[in-house]
């Protein structure tokens, strides 16, 4: 019995110092990923520089699972631009197009949005009583587009077990690989 276990156990024939090194390597990969994400945040000026489209309200421009690159440059907002905004009390940000803008003398904006695939504008989606979005609601302006790549995160979100399974397999894989 012990024999079988020692044969199956991928860590069996690896010296201890090498296991330690693999753990460090694993940490390095995680840290690098985090660095890239945080670096992108600084570069783009947006709190979430990459978002996955979750709804079909912008079809045929964006489908579920498409990936958007956002930035938050200082230039003025104009109609036709696709922005990502967050409504107070709602967790999921919305990707829609600006339909109306009223720019005030003090540089503030009243913004009305609409999804390309929706028949009416977004007043019904805003907080009760809220008529307009302001700059504070907007977390990013869509600048780049990649189709379908974000489907991975949607599948993982829909089946959380898959996420843990994948992380587990990956961890075993990384730790047990010999140089």
């Amino acid at each position: 019995m012990n024999d079988i276990i020692s044969k199956i156990n991928p860590f069996n024939s690896i010296p201890k110092h090498q296991i330690a090194q693999q753990i460090v390597n694993f940490g390095l990969i995680v840290a690098t990923a985090l660095m890239i994400w945080k670096g992108l945040m600084i570069f783009s000026g947006s709190e979430s520089p990459i978002v996955v489209v979750l709804s079909g309200s912008m079809i045929p421009a964006f489908y579920r699972g498409d990936l958007l690159y956002l930035n938050m440059e200082d230039g003025p907002f104009r109609v036709g631009e696709i922005v990502v905004f967050k409504i107070e009390g709602k967790e999921i940000p919305i990707v829609h197009r600006i339909l109306q803008i009223h720019e005030k003398e003090d540089g503030l904006y009243d913004i009305r949005t609409k999804g390309d695939n929706n028949n009416v504008d977004d007043v019904g989606l805003y907080s009760p009583g809220q008529r307009w979005l302001s700059r504070d609601h907007i977390i990013g302006r869509a600048k780049g587009f990649l189709p379908s790549v974000g489907m991975v995160t949607i599948v993982m979100h829909d089946y959380p077990q898959l996420k843990f399974f994948l992380v587990f397999v990956l961890a075993v894989f990384v730790l047990s690989t010999r140089e």
């Binding site: 045929p60 421009a61 036709g80 600048k143 780049g144």
Partner: protein, 170 residues
């Protein structure tokens, strides 16, 4: 010497790098396609111009001539066309309202000669439309198959709202 996992890793890595490279070339290739289009836009008619509570609103229609065929290349998924009314009032330094928009996905329909287009009402936040000059502009937004999202403005014309309200003509 080379295990299956190492081979798989190399293939996936190399595949990824090639895909990113092709994507980059694809994005850069847009510079070689002409994006010059001629657009003619003008007001057809002010159908209604009235006030309600404390704001003014209007239904207007426009005539549009545009040939957008040159904008369709291998990296064009769709064009989002929209016409904006731009004006300034005492209340706002700039107001932009979309009065018509259209999703264009086929090159064969990109040659547009339309009269009396209208979709959304022009609603001001206050009483700023009367006797005000409105600038109509034609804009398009290129949605690529992959790459950068860009906005462009071509063609504009101006008109002035009358000093009296216009009820709908039957």
């Amino acid at each position: 010497m080379h295990s299956l996992s190492q081979r798989a890793n190399t293939i996936v890595c190399f595949g990824g790098i090639v895909l990113v490279g092709v994507l980059l070339l694809n994005v850069l290739s847009r510079a070689f396609f002409s994006d010059h289009v001629d657009v003619d836009i003008k007001l057809n008619e002010i159908h209604r111009f009235n006030t309600q509570r404390n704001f003014e609103y209007s239904f207007i229609s426009i005539d549009l001539d545009a040939n957008l065929e040159p904008l369709f290349n291998w990296n064009t998924k769709m064009l989002f066309l929209y016409v904006t009314a731009e004006y300034r009032t005492k209340q706002n330094v700039l107001s932009q309202v979309v009065i018509w928009d259209h999703i264009l996905t086929e090159k064969s329909k990109a040659n547009i000669h339309e009269k009396r287009l209208s979709k959304y009402p022009l609603i001001d936040q206050g009483l700023g439309l009367k006797n005000n000059t409105i600038k109509l502009t034609f804009n398009y937004n290129v949605v690529p198959i992959s790459g950068l999202l860009t906005r462009h403005q071509v063609g504009s014309s101006e008109f002035k709202f009358p000093t009296t309200y216009i009820k709908e003509v039957y």
